[in-house]
Symmetry: C2
Subunit: 345 residues, 2 copies
């Protein structure tokens, strides 16, 4: 057997007549390199038997080749979150183009979360995407202290200073919620309820505020709001409470599909027909929502596109740009069979 | 500002009077180091200003501190797979104890998949877990050629040579499927159908074979099998086909919850009551299954425990042990409200 190749990235660069940085770029794809130069570098590498693991090591000296994503949620919720896996596949699509991977950590305590960010900063990731941000999120200060580049995913346009100057990919759920209320109101509903997500999550709070504003604007009662926690169990329980009211709602707008599907099932088990007796809508466009009978009116969140945009924005930040706040404009109401006129009194 | 620290792991080791390996262990936690030794190493590191990124780099020279997981499935399926996220959280639980992360790649083509394994082998992961293995899976030869340690997750005990000598964490879905058929048969059902997963997935095939064997053993018709693809859409369509039969089944055993929930919804929309007219069962114990009305009889797969076991087995393999085939014995039938006696003829 031959001894292992001792060629370095410098040897390859000299042989190809380019800089070491250009050799790196040819392999990483982080910035374009001309086809001619790339070919010259690849043949130099082949001639010198400069192998993949050498290349990888060379790349690793400046960049880890990975971005980090820390999921600080109950794994049980994670398992049913339609948004998460789609977001992940969007991230992956862009990362693959840049020869990068996603370093994923699921944590269940604040201590573990803190430690993971320290580890990521210590050479395991070039940057991170912050999901599920809360008001005054302690991670903003943490990543700044660690010098870890970060992009924030937010459910509304950040006000000045709100995300501590971090680049932010934001969407705005308010127009979709307003549109759902309009669909229900125009079908004739006057008693519309909301099963909300937890208000300490920005997207939970935004949807609830948009709901209240939209029904108030139509002169309707905005008090039928029950706060769930995005789980099916909370959707079922909130629906029970609403249907037990002396004057139950004829339409329910849920803050996600999981709660809506459990609510639909509960209503039917009580002999309440959907949509004849009760109209309802979800949020997230989970795979199941389109294939229920009736199919669930819901909101497509452009989760894949948001993953792509989050990574693109983070890569721009790593390249020294200052992306600021970027609007992810992919939110779409998907009207299906679960909204119909209310029963005649 | 001070110039950056030039201390090496060797300096720290000499200063603390231990080997470089012990310094590594003190930081990685891969094997226990006495509290006294750990303290000595940490103060040496502090004195020499040996910082986190130096430590990370030192660890990275021999180990990447990560294991790889490549998901070669349509992201749409991934988004609704109850097993995946639970499995991930089990992996993460053990990885966190060992100061390790999970390098995750989602790929949608065979070419991309191949490339990702090459990259992982080239310094991005110490080893990989192979999910969704197929018969004669080409990844067995690939990881061997790349010298990439791997653990296979399988839905049955591997026969000699089947997983090419790779350590395997296996479960056996057959007893749970047999138990579900027994529940249905003992409730009085004689026309039992199966909505299967794709037979090219081992777990799809195993469940289907167990179903056919169990109904045949009771002298019942084993021909009512429709192959779905684990998506809600296929569950809905298969259920339509079954209910349109001249003599429809009175019980349907689905190969996963997603197909079962779409089937339940379809049946109800046609006025078929569950469980009065039609009994059904799922597989996976998704969060939604427990909170439908009626709750869905399903199978808990011990996904979290399997994630833990897969990582533990991979770490054992990395440490030079030869784990062989390890049984993950966490599969449990969860009887709920969706199975009842058939309607009287």
């Amino acid at each position: 057997m031959n001894p292992p190749s001792r060629a370095t990235i410098g040897d390859v660069a000299r042989h190809a007549g380019v800089s070491k940085g250009t050799v790196s770029l040819a392999y990483s794809g982080k910035r374009p390199v001309s086809e001619e130069t790339r070919r010259r570098i690849f043949s130099a590498a082949a001639e010198l038997e400069w192998t993949a693991s050498h290349r990888a090591r060379a790349l690793a000296t400046s960049r880890t080749g990975a971005i980090g994503l820390v999921i600080a949620r109950d794994p049980e919720v994670l398992a049913t979150d339609a948004f998460f896996s789609k977001f992940l596949s969007g991230c992956e699509r862009v990362l693959a183009e840049h020869d990068m991977g996603l370093m994923l950590h699921a944590v269940t305590t604040a201590e573990a979360e803190h430690l993971v960010y320290e580890r990521l900063a210590a050479g395991r990731a070039d940057g991170v995407i912050l999901l599920d941000v809360e008001i005054d999120d302690p991670r903003f200060a943490l990543v700044r202290r660690l010098g870890l580049p970060a992009v924030v995913l937010s459910a509304h346009e950040p006000t000045r200073g709100e995300t501590a100057g971090l680049p932010t990919v934001f969407s705005d759920d308010s127009p979709a919620v307003t549109e759902l209320v309009t669909l229900m109101a125009e079908a004739g509903h006057t008693r519309i309820a909301h099963v909300a997500g937890p208000a300490h999550y920005i997207h939970g709070r935004i949807r609830q505020e948009a709901f209240r504003a939209a029904v108030r604007e139509r002169g309707l009662d905005d008090s039928m709001v029950i706060e769930g926690d995005f789980t099916a169990a909370s959707g079922r329980d909130a629906t029970t409470q609403l249907l037990d009211l002396p004057e139950p709602p004829t339409a329910i707008l849920y803050a996600n599909d999981m709660m809506a599907i459990a609510g639909l099932s509960l209503a039917r088990s009580r002999g309440v027909r959907v949509p004849e007796d009760l109209s309802l809508s979800g949020y997230d466009d989970s795979e199941l929502s389109a294939h229920l009978s009736p199919a669930l009116t819901t909101v497509g969140t452009g989760a894949v596109q948001r993953g792509e945009l989050a990574v693109t924005t983070l890569l721009a930040a790593l390249a020294g740009e200052a992306p600021g706040a970027v609007l992810a404009d992919h939110t779409t109401v998907l009207p299906r069979g679960s909204i119909a006129p209310p029963p005649r009194p």
